[in-house]
Structure formats: C-alpha cells, structure tokens
C-alpha cells in the first residue's frame, strides 16, 4: 500500500457522522470553520459514514435540521482546501469520488496515519 503525500497543518478535524440524523457533522464543521477563522491551517478527513457528507445534491429538506451542504460550500472561503476521505469508507458505501460535491482526496490507511501524525491538534467528531 502506497503512502500518498499528505500536508502537515495545525488542526485536523475528523468527521465520522452522516449529514442528517444528528448534529455531529454540523458541530464538527463549525469547529473547523472557527479554527480557520482564527488563522489556523485546517484539514478535514471524512471517515466512515462521514463520507456521505460529501455527496452531491443534498438539501435541508423536510427533516427540520439545517443540513451541512451549504457549510461545505463555504469551506473554500475559509481557506479550508485540504480535504481527504477514507477510501475504504467510500467503497464500502458503493460510492466513487465522481458523486462528490467537493474534491476530496481518497486516502489509504498508511496515508491516514501520516495525516494524523502531521497535525498538531486532532479533533474527532
């Protein structure tokens, strides 16, 4: 298994929950946005059901929760451009990077370990 080159940074936020059904993803993204607003270099890793956050065509819909699709569109404005996802989580869900709203780079386990090691602070949601 090859280790891709991954960036180093100040803060890595790991997102493991889908966009609907709980506030985990939204509150995790909020932490990332605040960190970026404070001038930190922030990377995001979507892992497990968290990769569903990246699917295209989501809206808040009738579920009552605010949804996170609009927040994802704001990431670039906050200079959060280091986006990664766990490749095995994506394939387990039968998805490919073609169906994603944002360009996140798929990583294999050794690269995920390198990504975590390369950040000063890791926040897991």
């Amino acid at each position: 298994m090859e280790t891709a080159t991954v960036p180093e940074g100040d803060i890595l936020v790991i997102l493991r929950h889908p966009p609907h059904g709980s506030s985990w993803l939204r509150e995790g993204l909020d932490a990332a946005l605040v960190a970026a607003a404070f001038g930190q270099a922030v990377s995001l890793l979507f892992q497990g059901d968290g990769v569903l956050a990246l699917l295209q065509g989501q809206g808040p819909g009738p579920l009552g929760q605010k949804g996170t699709s609009a927040t994802l569109d704001m990431l670039a404005m906050y200079d959060i451009e280091s986006l990664f996802l766990d490749a095995s989580s994506l394939s387990r869900l039968g998805l490919s990077t073609d169906s994603l709203q944002l360009p996140a780079s798929p990583l294999e386990p050794p690269s995920i370990a390198a990504l975590i090691a390369g950040h000063r602070l890791v926040l897991t949601f």
Partner: protein, 130 residues
C-alpha cells in the same frame, strides 16, 4: 503535563462524563495539571445547574464544580451549542427574555475559539465522546 479535556457526551446518557471525571482524578493524582474542561455538542448538558439525579447516583454536575474548586480547572461551555439546547447563564437568559437561567459559575459560556486555543496550548487534549 498540562492537560485539557473535551467532553461531548450528555451526563447520564453516556459514559463520557463518568470517564472524563475518572481520567481527571487519575491525572491529578499523578501530579499533572488540568487546565480546562471544555463542553461541546451534547456535553453542554453537563453544565446545567438544574440537574437533580437520584441520591444513589453520582452527581455529575457537582463533581465538575468540585473539580473547579479543588484544582482551579476552568469549566468552559460552547455558547452556540448551549443556547440552542436551553443552557443559558443569567446574562443570556435576560438577553433572550427567559424567566430563569440554567447555567451558573464556575461554568462559563464561551466561544469555540477557546477550544482551538486550548487544544493548541496544552500538551494533551483528550476527547470523551459517547
């Protein structure tokens, strides 16, 4: 070592608060310093002054207060996560026209920026999630 804890689980609903308190006691017993406990997500419910658990269960809110009194550990609560869950101190209650408040010192409502500062400033930030 300088530690901080991030608590994301509601008291009594999950193991998070119990484990965080046990970890706090263990690190203090070993001579480490616990600078702050930050409450976010459903962890903000740990800050309710109105908790009234049965007598045969540990009083988790009081346990946090005792930690502050004995060791000066700050108890910070994310204000955005708290307000939408009905956790307001006197100032916020009055600002939002509420007849009572549910958060009191030593718990402090503060911004997420404090969590970021804290995480980058201490030697270890340990997360307790449900």
């Amino acid at each position: 070592m300088r530690y901080a804890l991030l608590v994301l689980g509601a008291p009594y609903s999950s193991q998070a608060s119990h484990s965080a308190l046990r970890f706090a006691a263990a690190l203090l017993a070993r001579g480490h310093y616990l600078e702050c406990v930050f409450f976010y997500h459903d962890g903000v419910y740990n800050a309710t002054r109105l908790a009234a658990p049965p007598q045969d269960e540990p009083h988790l809110v009081e346990a946090w207060v005792k930690l502050n009194q004995a060791h000066g550990t700050q108890l910070q609560v994310c204000i955005a996560a708290a307000l939408r869950r009905g956790l307001l101190d006197e100032r916020e209650a009055s600002r939002h026209g509420k007849s009572g408040h549910s958060v009191e010192p030593p718990f402090e409502l503060t911004g997420l920026g404090q969590l970021i500062d804290l995480g980058l400033g201490v030697d270890r930030l340990v997360t307790f999630a449900p």
